[in-house]
């Protein structure tokens, strides 16, 4: 127990607090005020009319759908090191590695799939990647499919996704 | 005619529910059979123009007792495997039915010895007002004794079901 500990007096011991009814009344007053204000003028409610109006304020740190990046020479940045699969808390990354014959590197994924139904979009894979090969900067926040299989994104699909935060930022950093 | 068919349906439910209690191994079905029987019993009370008893039956037997038993059963939470096996249940039922049947026959004969017919009821028969008047004029002592009994039962239930005490 150091001297830095600040003791906050405990509230709610008085009769008025223990009665709860005044507090309930105050809470109801707030919600009722919001209700009345918004009923009186529902145009003032500041919401996005979603499918017609798309969000424009996605920041760079927004974790959207994944993508696999390219290097400066347009080759795949991923070397199938399995770091993302190791870091993944929901085990939704499936990688099968193979020999790489383009002379750029030794190893590449022959299959790199993300089961987005299981993905929790935590971004650990992005943090774990030593090659900056996987990123979540596509800005895509909705994925639609007719079957479960549609939600398993395969390697080529992930490679096709584009980063939305400028061309200069879309390449894999060394 | 309408009365007769209502009676037939209600007694069908009543006996069906009772048989469910008797024959089924599962506690769920026992409880459900009991519920049906009690609701049908309430219906029979209504048929006998006892409107207050109809509600009291629903409230106490069907409502309170069934809910209480369900709470008790879920509290002990028996798995199906923990239920008694009762391999010779049917045999036992047949044997006890053979023993019971003469007694029931006797009861039925005795009951039907009353030589009377249903009359038109006087006004207000079976309503709360009349029952209450009767209860607090000629039945005060039983009523008071009963209140003591209820208190005793409540205390007993609390004492028995307490967790600390061991048998």
């Amino acid at each position: 127990m150091g001297k830095n500990i600040k003791v906050v007096p405990r509230h709610g011991r008085e009769f008025k607090d223990r009665l709860y009814l005044p507090a309930i009344y105050n809470g109801m007053k707030i919600t009722f005020k919001h209700l009345i204000d918004n009923v009186a003028d529902s145009n003032a409610v500041d919401t996005l009319e979603y499918p017609e109006e798309q969000p424009t304020d996605i920041t760079e740190r927004y974790r959207g759908l994944h993508r696999l990046t390219h290097r400066d020479d347009d080759t795949m940045a991923c070397v199938a090191c399995f770091m993302c699969a190791t870091a993944c808390p929901s085990n939704c990354i499936f990688i099968e590695a193979t020999e790489r014959n383009d002379g750029k590197d030794e190893k590449m994924p022959s299959r790199f799939a993300i089961d987005t139904l299981e993905c929790v979009f935590c971004g650990y894979c992005v943090e774990a990647c030593p090659c900056d090969a996987i990123r979540m900067d596509t800005g895509i926040f909705s994925l639609i499919g007719n079957s479960r299989e549609d939600f398993v994104l395969e390697r080529d699909q992930l490679l096709k996704h584009k980063g939305v935060f400028g061309e200069e930022n879309s390449r894999a950093r060394k | 005619m309408l009365e007769n068919s209502i009676f037939a349906i209600l007694s069908l439910f009543l006996i069906g529910g009772a048989l469910m209690v008797l024959l089924s191994r599962e506690i769920v079905l026992n409880a459900f059979g009991f519920l049906i029987a009690m609701l049908a019993m309430a219906g029979l009370f209504a048929l006998l123009e006892n409107s207050f008893l109809f509600l009291a039956q629903i409230m106490i037997s069907a409502g309170a007792v069934v809910v209480l038993s369900l709470i008790a059963v879920t509290t002990i939470n028996l798995k199906r495997d923990n239920l008694p096996e009762e391999p010779n249940k049917i045999r036992w039922i047949v044997i006890s039915a053979l023993i019971v049947s003469p007694i029931s026959l006797l009861i039925y004969k005795t009951l039907t010895m009353v030589n009377r017919k249903f009359q038109e009821t006087v006004d207000g028969y079976g309503t709360l007002k009349v029952i209450g008047g009767e209860l607090f004029s000629s039945w005060v002592l039983p009523f008071e004794i009963l209140s003591v009994l209820l208190l005793a039962a409540m205390l007993a239930a609390i004492v028995i079901a307490r967790k600390e005490s061991e048998i």
Binding site: C81, F82, F94, D105, P130 | -
Partner: protein, 466 residues
């Protein structure tokens, strides 16, 4: 040899006079880094990692080449010795390409471990400035060489020159250009070659077979016994269950057992895991089509009732417990039990080290249980085959066969049998050493072990319910 007491890090240990200091350190789990020393290969003293401080000596000494003397006081920790370790490690890593993401050794790499334990310095050299070597060299015998990652510990060259005496590998060049290589035009080619992969402390030598298949930290290692031949080499089975998939074996590694195989196994045994998961019998068959257990039991009962002369063939690779089960089963149905050993002998395979020409792993066990060898020449009405390789050549009216691997042979009933990694029991190797092998993988329905099949079948025999 005289036993003496020496002091290491303030603790007193008793040791044999004149033995190597590093052996004592390893035996007592004292942390000491080393690349080139190996208990099977002896000291070489070229990596300089195992430096320890010995009181009375001016400079730190390498533990692998220091003999234990009286009144020795050794320090393996301390500021000075840690600095030495760090400097030596930095030197080893000067030209290392640091491509751990693509390196198969990552996770069981000594360089990684030691860097985390002793290194943790900031590199002074840019990756681009490092000396380049060749990265893709197929040495033959499924061994890949990456010269950049090599720390020149010479374990592999010593293995080929001291253990196999085939002398394929050597270190050529000097200074920065020193590297491991084969003689020009020669390939690594001996039946034990893949042991260099295990010997290599870094990712320079990797197995082509395991290359990129799976990262090692996902794998579970289970100790087991190889059943390639009667030698009974001890192995680790590295396996892993991927999401939505069955458990898969990725590799066999040798497990040290000085009584049987020392540190090594042969290449054929090492690669024998593949055949354990290929072309497996996975369902029950009656007359060549898939069947349910009820049908199988019905057919089994009629076959058993209508047959006069029943013969049971037992595989000599089965565990002792399973063979005993088969013996009592044979008694219960009045059948004769044979294990023809002729087909197991493979003279070409055998050598005088870890390969035995008897390919049945439990041949001694069969002998011990005195199961008859030769089948007398008479008419067999029902043949019950427990995975014997020679069963196809035996004439019988009806056949019930339990197979681990699917096979085109004609049988009335085929039952899928568990492989030896899916079962557990004892085997006796050709030297009479009894070893226990634990179950590594679970069976998936309807695959079952010999004991399970016998109990399923004999319950049907009694007429009880299934």
């Amino acid at each position: 040899m005289k036993s003496i007491d020496i002091i290491v890090d303030g603790q007193i240990y008793s040791a044999t006079k004149g033995s190597l200091l590093i052996d004592l350190l390893i035996k007592n789990d004292l942390k000491v880094p080393y690349f080139c020393y190996h208990e099977a290969l002896g000291a070489d003293g070229n990596c300089r990692m195992c430096m320890v401080e010995i009181e009375g000596q001016k400079r730190p000494q390498i533990a692998c080449d220091t003999l234990i003397k009286d009144n020795m006081i050794v320090k393996t920790k301390g500021e000075m010795i840690d600095g030495v370790h760090r400097d030596v490690l930095e030197l080893e890593l000067v030209n290392h390409p640091v491509d751990c993401p693509v390196c198969d050794q990552a996770g069981e790499c000594k360089l990684q471990d030691f860097y985390m334990d002793y290194g943790l310095y900031d590199s002074k050299i840019d990756v681009a400035e490092k000396v380049k070597h060749e990265k893709h060299i197929d040495l033959g015998s499924s061994v890949m060489l990456d010269q950049e990652r090599c720390v020149l510990c010479a374990r592999c060259t010593r293995f080929t020159s001291n253990i196999t005496k085939t002398h394929e590998l050597g270190i050529i060049g000097r200074g920065d250009h020193a590297r491991v290589s084969t003689m020009p035009g020669k390939k690594l080619d001996n039946p034990y070659a893949m042991n260099v992969v295990d010997l290599c402390p870094v990712g320079a030598l990797t197995s082509k077979d395991f290359r990129f298949a799976q990262r090692v930290w996902f794998l579970t290692s289970t100790p087991s016994i190889c059943q390639g031949c009667a030698k009974g080499c001890n192995i680790y089975v590295d396996h892993n269950k991927l999401k939505y998939k069955d458990e898969k074996i990725y590799r066999f590694r040798p497990r040290r057992n000085d009584e049987v195989n020392g540190h090594f196994i042969c290449d054929e045994g090492r690669l024998s895991y593949k055949s354990l998961q290929e072309e497996r019998q996975e369902f029950m068959e009656i007359d060549g089509r898939e069947a349910t257990l009820g049908e199988v039991l019905g057919r089994y009962d009629t076959l058993l009732k209508s047959s006069e002369n029943i013969v049971i063939l037992a595989d000599a690779n089965l565990y002792i417990e399973e063979l005993e089960k088969i013996i009592s089963y044979a008694d219960s149905i009045g059948a004769k039990l044979y294990t023809p050993m002729e087909s197991y002998v493979d003279e070409e395979f055998g050598d005088d080290w870890l390969r035995s020409s008897m390919r049945a792993s439990n041949a001694k066990g069969v002998e011990m249980l005195s199961i008859a060898d030769k089948i007398p020449d008479e008419k067999i009405s029902l043949l019950i085959d427990f995975n014997h390789p020679d069963a196809k050549s035996i004439e019988a009216e009806h056949t019930i066969s339990m197979r681990t691997h699917s096979d085109s042979g004609k049988s009335d009933i085929v039952l899928p049998l568990a492989s030896y990694l899916q079962s557990s029991g004892k085997i006796i190797n050709e030297d009479g050493i009894e070893q226990f092998s634990d179950r590594v993988l679970e069976c998936s329905e309807p695959v079952a072990t010999v004991s399970e099949w016998i109990s399923i079948l004999s319950r049907a025999d009694i007429g009880g319910e299934v």
